[in-house]
Amino acid sequence: MANSDVAALRTAGSDGDQILQVEHATHRFGDVVALDDVSITARRGEFLTLLGESGSGKTTLLRIVAGLERPTRIARIAIDGEDVSAIPASRRNCTTVFQHYALFPHMSVGQNVEYGLRVRGIDRDQRRKRAEDALTLVRLLDKYGRRVHQLSGGERQRVALARALITEPAILLLDEPLGALDEKLRVDMQVELLDLHEKLGLTFIYVTHSQEEALTMSDRIILMRRGRIVQEGPPTDLFDRPASRFVADFMGVENLLEGTIESVQNGTASVRIGGHVISGAWSGAGPAEKGAAACVAVRAERVRLAPHGVAIDEPGVNTLPCTSGATIYKGKYLDQTLDTDIGPVKARIWDRGVDVNDLEALWWRESECAITSNENGAGAGSGDDA
């Protein structure tokens, strides 16, 4: 990843280098519990992503940080070490890029960008100079005099960014800033945002419901569901070591096989599924318990095929006899469903030379799958799942 060395620098920082601390935040809208006892922290300069499906409370959490929403209950909220629970949004050292940008329609691009300085009483010349700097940063200098409605979606997005950055906040809050853009533009903007993050070195808290976006951009991801945190950690943690079946599913793991834990040793769990025993590293939130329900999570691209008569001579692999099922053509690769006696398993085939009608078994390395709790609800201990 492009920002890995920056990330390394940051991890070197002490624990006291936390720019944001939210402790035990709960928020209710009437009967709806939008946020249920959530605590998060962000390190200075971190790219932190709040990931979750619609209605999981991401926006609510972001608004509480911004000061736009007063939480029902909170133990502590501090920005840069200073408790801000009594400080209104206008005086908090963070700014928001709104999902729909919220650019003022009665102002030009320049006036929009300058707004934060104008309300701070900074004089016109300096305002203009700094607005031009900010617009240069987002490559929109030539649009200074334009009206907002004369801009394209991507340009509006960048104006919103410049407007939020001009007051040099400690934290930039971004609420699905790329949600309204088309696919191609979104990828371009992702790169641009990462560049900007690296260049400015300020803390980004980024809301998205796209796991792909979260994986490519973040230093750390907080995955939320129904107002709770289900897992947090660097992208590789969520990708390779899902804490529950829900996380694995959300992170796009194609094959989730359900079974019972038969044995556990040294962090490796063996799960009985039908007549087979499958082993892999335990990644569940709590300790693995013998006899408990568990889920084997293996990605389609990790599933390999063994044609008839070809022996699998590797140690530490899981093998399932199979026959070929439906094939879906995806352009660069094929999504092949394989029927086994414990249900269908998906494999991704890049090599067109493989004859899927002449298979003996499928297999994957134990190190390439995760065994996790079969929990599909909102985190450990919650049984409120419908």
């Binding site: 000061g67 736009l68 209104p88 206008s90 709104f98 919220a102 003022f104 329609p105 309300v119 007051t167």
Partner: protein, 305 residues
Amino acid sequence: MAATLTANDDVLRRLLPRLPAGVWSLSGFSVVWFGGIVIPLLAIILVSFFQGRGIRINIDPTFLQYERFFSYGGGDLLARSVRIAATITFIELMIAFPFALWLAKGCKNNMVRLLTFTALTVPFFLSPAARVIVWRSVFGINGVVNQALLGIGAVDEPVTWLIFSEFAVHFGFLGAFFPTMVWPIFLSISLIDNDFLEASNDLGANRFRTLVHVIFPLALPGVVAGIVFTFIPMLGDTVVAQHMGGNNVLMLSAQVQSLIGVSNFLVAAALAAVVLGIMLAFQVLLWAALKPVGGLNEVFANLRR
């Protein structure tokens, strides 16, 4: 109008070039507007330059009616009318804006809001005269206020300037024209997306600055509409001045009506023409006032976003 069009459809189609439906409805509207509104107005202006001879009317153009009007204290009448209308419009704006802001963004209780709407509309079920006349029992010589003042011994005899005075006229207008100012402003403030207010707040603006830099400019269409629909009908109002001002506070439109009452059509026409002139001047003034913010079009364009 529409019926005629359908009946003579074939004839019309042959006579007139084919035009899209939109143009038809527009031109239909123009005909009605021209025939129903513009022509009568032009007629009034025309008549105001005529001269009466017994029961006949002399067609030679003359300023006689205007001279008569001004020589009988018409200038004062004019100045008073405009002054009162402008004062009331200003006061209404000052009260209505905060009120509309509260109603649109501050009031979270739907019940309170509903009751407020009702309170704003109910008076319109009453005739204008009935609405105004109520104040007589409050401010009259034997009215509630005087009874109270006498009762507590604040005055020895009834206060007379409470009714049939400029004070009373102001009061009457204030109540009658509050809704016309509140409604458009309320609507335009309601249309302001909360995101803009939050963005302003988030970028460091306190409430006052948000009001000045965001809410007011975006509510400007409503403010303009409110001013127009308050000031102009007030100039045309005949009820309040008559019932609250009596003969002490004469105003233009009430005067037009009483002149018509005594069949003095020509001076009445001149007077009406003067009222028209003021309204026109007012529109020009408004247009000029909006010039610095991009003109009327730009102000209303912000509604569309």
